[in-house]
Structure formats: structure tokens, C-alpha cells
């Protein structure tokens, strides 16, 4: 262990940065997709229409009972088959993350909607607003403001979860580092660097969320 080689990290920084860009892109796209789909699922689950609510609830419980790795494998196998031609691993993985995260986002958003209070809904209805106006103009803006910290925290979890694309060999930050580590025989240096990088990013991000939360509470 006497021969710690920090140089291997510096030499490979451009490659690692490319990996990090893929990680960030995947996180961002899956987060946006997950929140949009999650909002629809939450509204469906809370709707008074039985079958719709049942379908949304089943979707959420189903995805929450599966390991993310299995979902990644499913779509890595399924998407090229469904399209009849090979697509890059990135799109399969993006679909897997979006559909998977939507189930988790839906539960956060549902709690946010419930927290708005029945009085608001009743008042909006009494003013003659239609469903999409009640939700779009009254409930969702308040709900989203209240749950911003939770949505961001889930985003940090998602950022960490994207490292699982390793199982299909997509070159995100972790996979790139692993490839360099085995190529140069520098496992200790690379993995410590990866752990440190993730730690700094996630630690600062969750601190930021906490500051935001405190400011909102005022």
C-alpha cells in the first residue's frame, strides 16, 4: 500500500469527466421524466375513478417491489426487442430509470397533494373551477412548493442509483473509473477517488437541500 499513485487520477481526468457528464445527464433526464410521470400517477391514484386509481396504485406497488437492477435488465433486453433493432444502452437505461423513479416520485407527490388540504379543493370547486383548473392553478403549485426539498432529496438518491448502469456496461462515472482501475491495476486509488467524489457532491447537495428547507420554513 506504500505506492499510492495519485497521478493515475490526474492522467485520466478527461475520461472521468466524460463519465460524470453521462451520469449527470442520466440523472437530470430521469428526474424530469420521473416527476412528470409521477405527477400523472399521483393524480390517477387520487382520482375518484376506481379503475384508474387501481391501475396507478398497482403500477406504483409493482415497481416498488422490484430491485432496480432487475428493471434495468428488463429494459435492456426488452427495448431493442420491442423496436426490432438495437438501440444504445443509454435509451434502454433511461426508460428503465424514468419508469422506476416515477413510482417513487408518485408517492412523494401524492403526499404533497394530500398536504394541501381539502378546504382549498372545496373552495376552488365552489368558485366553479374545473378539475384541471383546481389541480393546475390551486393544488399543484402549492404541493410542488411544499415538496421541493423531498423531490430534490430523491434526486440525490437517483444520482447515486445511476451508478447501477454498471451492470449493463454503460460508461457512467463509476463504470469509467472501474475500467481505468482494471486497465492500469490501480483499484485502490480509483475507487477511493470515486467514493470521495460521490461523497462531496452528495454531501454538499444534501446540505443545500437542508438550507432550502430551513429558508422555506420561515
Amino acid at each position: 500500500m506504500g505506492d499510492f499513485d495519485g497521478d493515475v487520477i490526474l492522467r485520466n481526468l478527461p475520461l472521468l469527466w466524460e463519465g460524470m457528464q453521462l451520469t449527470l445527464l442520466l440523472t437530470l433526464l430521469a428526474m424530469v421524466g420521473g416527476i412528470v410521470l409521477g405527477t400523472l400517477l399521483a393524480l390517477a391514484r387520487l382520482s375518484g375513478f376506481g379503475p384508474l386509481s387501481f391501475v396507478a396504485t398497482s403500477y406504483i406497488n409493482f415497481f416498488r417491489s422490484l430491485p432496480l437492477i432487475l428493471v434495468i435488465f428488463w429494459f435492456y433486453f426488452l427495448v431493442p426487442l420491442a423496436l426490432g433493432r438495437p438501440v444504445g444502452g443509454f435509451y434502454s437505461v433511461l426508460i428503465a430509470f424514468t419508469l422506476f423513479e416515477a413510482a417513487y416520485y408518485a408517492e412523494i407527490i401524492r403526499a404533497g397533494i394530500i398536504s394541501v388540504g381539502r378546504g382549498q379543493v372545496a373552495a376552488a370547486r365552489a368558485l366553479g373551477m374545473r378539475y384541471h383548473q383546481v389541480m393546475g392553478d390551486v393544488v399543484l403549485p402549492q404541493a410542488f412548493r411544499a415538496m421541493t426539498p423531498l423531490l430534490l432529496t430523491q434526486g440525490i438518491i437517483l444520482f447515486q442509483d445511476t451508478s447501477l448502469v454498471y451492470v449493463v456496461g454503460l460508461r457512467d462515472f463509476l463504470t469509467t473509473a472501474e475500467l481505468i482501475a482494471s486497465r492500469d491495476g490501480r483499484l485502490v486509488e480509483m475507487f477511493l477517488f470515486v467514493a470521495g467524489t460521490y461523497f462531496v457532491i452528495c454531501f454538499l447537495a444534501s446540505r443545500g437541500v437542508r438550507v432550502l428547507q430551513r429558508r422555506m420554513a420561515k
Partner: protein
């Protein structure tokens, strides 16, 4: 979409045997890691609520360290890095002689990681009991330890049954990460069947059904436990 359905592939030798072995490894990793996660998590969770700043600091540092690094990176750290950092003989022993290296590493990594999550649930449970109870205990002349033992913990542990159930389900699902360091658990088995036979639908459906069934079973079981443990007028549904 062209696809040749063949559900029989799951029941043909040796695939059925693989599936059962996969279930056994999944449950083995999950349960063994849960023992570590639960016991360490409870100790850390209590530490985070004590009056001692040193104990609180240690537990907080532990939680921050573990939850800000992805679980998969923890697996790699324990598998590739820790044996190198150990003293020479110990490192050699881990690499050459430790029984079931993949399994043991997976259990340690998953257990220590989940301990940080269990810690947060236990802390929330103790805080939910309320300051009044703690003050009342101390006013009665209980020591801090006695306040925990006879006042706070009996209620807190009932409060945390539902969140700890979902933590257990998380550890059960996260045990699939063990495949990255070579444990042939359920997800790895179905991936292998897909690679050998190209019957991906059947293989992944099998895993999906098995995971869902086990999840449902645990939820049903724990609801029953929760009802059994309920104290009349305390710590129930609020």
C-alpha cells in the same frame, strides 16, 4: 415483434435448480446483512438521540459517510480496496482464505450501509415519542439508560415497525447488487438463464414474480406483527 415463447425453459434442468439456489442466496445475503443492519442501526439510532455530544457526533458522521456514497461503490470498496488497506497478513487472509469471499463481502457492505438507514428510522422513532416522556422519566429519578430502557424504547420500537419493514424490503431488493461481486443470487440467475437460452421474457418474469411474492408476504406478515404488538392507547396509528 418476433419471439418464441417457451415457458418450459424455466422448469428444464438445470434452470429450475438455479432459480432455487438464487432465491436461497438472495435470502441468505438479505437476512445476514439485516442482522448487522438492525443491531448496529439500533445502537447508532440511540446514540444520535443521547445527551452526549461525542456519541451523537460519531453516529452522525457514520450516517453522513454511508448515505452519501452509492451502495455499489461501497461494494467495490469492501471488495477491492479494504483488503489492500489492511495489515499485510490480514489482507492476505481476506484474499486467500476467507470462506465465501463474495458472500461475506456482500453481507458486510450491505449490512453496514443499511445500518445508516436503520439508524435514521430508529432516531425518528425515538424523537416521535416526545421530549415530555424523556423529561418525565428523568424527573422520576431514572438514569438516562433506564429512561431509554423502560420509557422511550418500548414505545419507539413499536413506532418504527412499519418503517423498518420497508427498510428490510429495501435490503432484500438491494441484495441484488451482490451480483456485481460474483454472488449468483436471484437476479444474476435469471440474467444467466437469459444469456444461455435467449428466453429473456420467461427468465425475468420468473424473477419479477418471485420478488413481488416475497415482498407481499413480508408486508402481510409484518401487518400482523404490528397489530400483535400494539399497545392500547399508545403508539398506535396517529
Amino acid at each position: 415483434m418476433n419471439y418464441n415463447w417457451d415457458w418450459g425453459v424455466l422448469f428444464r434442468d438445470p434452470h429450475l435448480g438455479w432459480l432455487f439456489e438464487g432465491i436461497a442466496w438472495t435470502l441468505g445475503v438479505a437476512l445476514a446483512a439485516w442482522v448487522i443492519a438492525f443491531s448496529l442501526g439500533c445502537v447508532l439510532g440511540i446514540m444520535r438521540t443521547t445527551t452526549s455530544p461525542i456519541l451523537r457526533g460519531i453516529a452522525t458522521a457514520y450516517v453522513e459517510l454511508f448515505r452519501n456514497i452509492p451502495l455499489l461503490v461501497h461494494f467495490f470498496l469492501w471488495f477491492f480496496v479494504v483488503p489492500e488497506l489492511l495489515p499485510r497478513e490480514a489482507g492476505m487472509w481476506v484474499k486467500r482464505e476467507m470462506p465465501l469471499p463474495s458472500f461475506t463481502t456482500a453481507v458486510v457492505a450491505l449490512g453496514l450501509y443499511t445500518a445508516s438507514r436503520v439508524c435514521e428510522q430508529v432516531r425518528a422513532g425515538i424523537e416521535a415519542v416526545g421530549r415530555g416522556q424523556r423529561n418525565a422519566g428523568r424527573a422520576m429519578g431514572f438514569t438516562e439508560w433506564q429512561t431509554y430502557r423502560y420509557v422511550l424504547l418500548p414505545v419507539a420500537f413499536r413506532i418504527v415497525i412499519p418503517p423498518l419493514t420497508s427498510e428490510f424490503l429495501t435490503i432484500f431488493k438491494n441484495s441484488s447488487l451482490a451480483l456485481t461481486i460474483g454472488v449468483i443470487e436471484l437476479t444474476a440467475v435469471t440474467r444467466r438463464i437469459e444469456e444461455y437460452t435467449f428466453q429473456g421474457f420467461e427468465a425475468f418474469t420468473a424473477a419479477t414474480v418471485i420478488y413481488s411474492v416475497i415482498t407481499l408476504t413480508v408486508i402481510t406478515l409484518m401487518r400482523r406483527v404490528e397489530r400483535r404488538m400494539e399497545l392500547p392507547g399508545m403508539g398506535g396509528k396517529r
